[in-house]
């Protein structure tokens, strides 16, 4: 079942940059699927939520390449799913590592676009060849960067586990962090400040009283 993650990594990379456009590569979906396959669903999903909100504000408008939040979710969920014992401390530690590594992972998209450009300049009229080569490159990027990166980081964390003291962080801290990110994200949404607070309190009251 775990081997399924290798082709999935390729497909997620394609969905993110070159094919489908079905949002199967969103951090939320990626983290939930890995959590479902490998275990520790709720922790994987919690990380997916945080990366999803960060990713939602980062729109690929025009030539802009948004940061590869799919990679962050993949790495985070894979590592968390493979920890022998999941603690909030290691979740938090992995969250930071995944967030930092998003930047080199995003550069791999820049690199694949550069390869596509070179291929196009060499033979601009071989459209079928260019399209399917591009798909293969995107698939390979997913397998190498997502799956390869996740396994490598998982080994590193396993190696460090005995030597590292990770400070105590509560689950509550993650929830507060989610609130902060949600607030930041809501700045991106169109509504007056008063209306935002009123709707937020209404939503909270609805969940508290009814659900």
């Amino acid at each position: 079942m775990e081997l399924l993650l290798i082709p999935l990594a390729g497909l997620w990379s394609m969905d993110r940059s070159t094919a489908f456009n079905f949002m199967i590569s969103r951090p939320l979906v990626v983290a939930a699927v890995i959590g479902g396959i490998s275990g520790n669903f709720i922790w994987c999903f919690a990380g997916g939520i945080l990366f999803e909100i960060i990713g939602l504000m980062d729109m690929p408008v025009g030539t802009r390449i948004s940061r590869d939040s799919t990679f962050a979710a993949f790495v985070f969920a894979y590592v968390i799913a493979h920890l022998p014992v999941v603690t909030t401390e290691y979740c938090f530690f992995t969250l930071i590592i995944a967030y930092v590594l998003v930047f080199p992972a995003t550069y791999s998209i820049v690199f694949t676009r550069w390869i596509n450009k070179k291929l196009y300049q060499r033979s601009p009229h071989r459209e079928s060849f260019l399209i399917w080569t591009g798909q293969a490159i995107a698939f390979a990027r997913g397998v190498i960067v997502y799956a390869g990166g996740a396994v490598l980081i998982s080994w590193l964390i396993e190696y460090a586990a005995g030597r590292l003291i990770v400070p105590s962080v509560s689950f509550l801290w993650l929830v507060i962090f989610f609130c902060f990110l949600a607030g930041y994200f809501s700045g991106f949404l169109t509504a007056s400040m008063r209306l935002k607070i009123a709707l937020l309190l209404l939503g909270g009251a609805f969940a508290w009283l009814i659900l």
Partner: protein, 247 residues
């Protein structure tokens, strides 16, 4: 029937048209890849200059590529400059797509699927790709049909749907769902570790939300990204001390 099959095949083909996405002609190769076989089938011959420009710079929202293809073919069939129509309308459809798909549908589906996973079933996550993919296919199907019939008037029809206003409503629904999610998060945290003062925790969560809104309004994106990283590291240090590595 044959027409429906060819539309279906075109939609499936359009799932892959961004394969050669690059920094020079963006999705231009993909557009030429979609257009060339149809031009050949319909017996439309482009001038040498236009043929060269078919694969030149092109960039739009992927859900509207068939609409632009339809407009391009309609213009070519009428003996007009299809290349100019394609270039002129690609940005307009990109803006429509950004407004509806990126700004409205994606955040809404994100919060709805989180809500469903936490309150109903883990399978609720499937809502995200299924609904988004459904809209994507719907727009590809109707966009292609409408584009090839209405030509340049296609954008007028799409503008009647007032996608920007949808985004405004969806934004408000998203904030409402965020409120419900915060309450669920606090409930989860109280089940993980007994909280002494739930009122204090709720106030803290609310303050963090307001802090987030404030930071969005006052701080630029790169500073935010760096600040977030520093905040994470500082918390890590403050909570646990600086001596991370030991023998």
């Amino acid at each position: 029937m044959a027409n429906l099959i060819s539309i279906f095949l075109l939609i499936v083909k359009s799932f892959f048209y961004q394969g050669n996405y690059n920094t020079e002609n963006m999705q231009g190769t993909g557009f030429a890849w979609l257009a060339r076989p149809i031009l050949k089938r319909r017996g439309i011959t482009l001038s040498e200059e236009h043929d060269k420009e078919l694969g030149a710079y092109f960039n739009t929202n992927p859900s509207f590529v068939t609409a632009l293809l339809g407009i391009f073919l309609k213009e070519c069939q009428n003996g007009n400059n299809g290349i100019m129509a394609k270039n002129a309308y690609s940005s307009a459809f990109a803006a429509l797509g950004d407004s509806f798909f990126w700004h409205a549908l994606r955040p809404l589906l994100c919060f709805v699927s989180i809500f469903l996973v936490l309150y109903v079933s883990p399978w609720g996550i499937a809502i995200y790709p299924i609904v988004y993919g459904g809209f994507h296919i719907l727009f590809l199907f109707f966009g292609g049909l409408v584009g090839s019939v209405l030509g340049l008037n296609t954008i007028t029809l799409f503008n009647r749907f007032r996608f920007k206003e949808w985004a405004n409503i969806v934004d408000k629904v998203s904030i409402f769902i965020i409120g419900a999610l915060i309450v669920k998060g606090l409930e989860y945290s109280s089940s993980y570790e007994a909280s002494d003062n739930m009122l204090l925790v709720t106030v803290l969560a609310f303050a963090a939300f307001i802090g987030g809104v404030f930071v969005y309004n006052k701080v630029s994106r790169p500073v935010f990204a760096m600040g977030l990283l520093i905040l994470l590291l500082a918390t890590l240090g403050a909570v646990g001390g600086y001596n991370i590595w030991i023998q």
